[in-house]
Symmetry: D2
Subunit: 181 residues, 4 copies
């Protein structure tokens, strides 16, 4: 059964969004690209806090640590359920995610996507390289790439893994597309 | 029963997104802001076409006309269903929409949101003023504001209407918030 | 002698950039729009600091206070000189500025623009209205609009002033354009 | 004499802007990053035209061809002169450029920068790789990367060249920084 949802999990600046856009180009038929960034943009400012204290929402500390509180977790659960409902309604979706809670985050998505054909993809990038790309792109809090490079993969199981350290996003996308079925 | 979904419908540059952000600030508890822009950004480039011919996706012509094809309608239906599922899962959502099909577009949302407490809000702005703001913001195809100012309200029924022509987004948001219940 | 440089000075979220874009549309011939935002984007990240301490560069505190240090002042001086040189080389320029130092900031620009025909325009907006628009636009540190609304006009002299509190950007632009000569 | 201006020339999606941001991080002291994108953003909409005909300004055709007309050339000349004036006033500047006219474009900058210590850097990227990155970034007209990959280097002379095809932006930046003197 061909995958209808592709979940890309990787740290900040590992290249997930670029792979998602390439997948939209190389896969036949329309695929939506949704992810953590979509949700964070949809949040009220009060739940998107800079500075050290995450409090209730999602906090981006100066050193790149990201922490999440109960109010964020609640809207995230509804978000995940809604993305799953879009897939059940027939949409094909590339989900571009950062599993800050590792295996625990994956289980939340697994429960929501239960019964749907899903391709789980790990997007790796060496921490030092991701940190350099974070500086090059210039729109992210410095330190997020390094802080998340390994963290987000802890205990997560994948159907396949790609590594952007020395492989272009487009080539990673072709590898993934070949496994969609 | 207090509204759990607020649907803002209005033409391009009528001020919906600004009202949505103000609502997120003045309403108690977290509300997500999602809308047409979120969906358009999630689309594959092949469905987001510039130029005259919309073809299968959504097309933005040089004169500001927006046309949509069957492939866009299909993913849009899944999107609407997913947003409704997020609300059913407990999220409170401000939906920032452009009913290009007027009453027909509203019926699509009504069917999806059936059973949920929804506040339907018309966001009006005089065409000439919206056209001026379109130039002032500088990031939209010229002509969209004028083309959509009346079109999107045809046959649509509202719980309340606001008019941004001479009223600030924040004041509109307070008026809407007072009706959320 | 028709003005070749239009300096718009006003607080954050007072509507300067919108007026600048409208001026580019209503004025005959091409006018460049440059300003504080252009400079801030050109700065190295180390001079664009969030948090309380401005240090050497430009700092955006959580409460909306903006403070600038000696390294910022040095590059700003070169920037101002370069913008003046563009005008001397024949370009017509709308400068979109925030005179954090009031009259002192104006003198820096006056010295650089000496001999050029300049139209000095104050862009006013009531603090409460600007603060609401800051929330509506959603991309600025909360508090900047209120902190700067009066501050930036202290001791500054203008050829004309516009007030966006109850006047559209396009109408302000037409008023200004009528004075360009 | 240490370089005070670094001119990076390369095609669209060759990685110039990323290198510029990395340079701002690795070079001692503050360097401004300015370039073609800064100028294009400062242009009036009438000079920034989509579609096939460039007319007077700068035109981005659907196939990625970029063409420029006399009005664009006039403001560009003033812009180049102004950037040079910023350097003469003491600013250190990374110029991120696309020499659409090859050697002819370089001569324009050489004349303006005459007497200043300049480091001329060619930023290469294999056309196929740049085209893939153009898709991955998702914010550029498809085809620009391929159309410009070789074109912009015709007849241009460099102090050094970097190639981002298999080298990270940060590593290219370190190579360049080592030559700044």
């Amino acid at each position: 059964m061909p995958a209808q949802v592709i979940v890309l999990n990787g740290g900040s600046s590992s290249g997930k969004s670029g792979i998602a856009r390439c997948l939209q180009t190389v896969l036949p038929g329309p695929w939506l690209a949704l992810g953590t960034d979509t949700l964070v943009e949809a949040l009220p400012p009060a739940l998107r806090t800079a500075g050290d204290a995450a409090g209730d929402g999602i906090g981006f500390a100066d050193d790149g640590e990201v922490s999440v509180g109960p109010a964020f977790r609640a809207v995230e659960a509804a978000w995940i359920g809604g993305v799953a409902a879009m897939a059940r309604a027939g949409a094909r979706i590339v989900v571009d995610e950062v599993f800050l809670g590792g295996a625990h985050s994956q289980r939340r998505w697994q429960r929501a996507l239960g019964g749907l054909p899903v391709l789980w993809v790990g997007v790796r990038c060496e921490a030092a390289v991701a940190a350099g790309r974070e500086i090059a792109r210039g729109d992210r809090t410095a330190g997020m790439a390094a802080a998340q490079a390994d963290l987000v993969h802890r205990g997560v199981t994948y159907d396949l893994e790609v590594d952007t350290t020395r492989t272009e996003a487009m080539e990673c996308a072709r590898t993934i597309a070949a496994r969609v079925g």
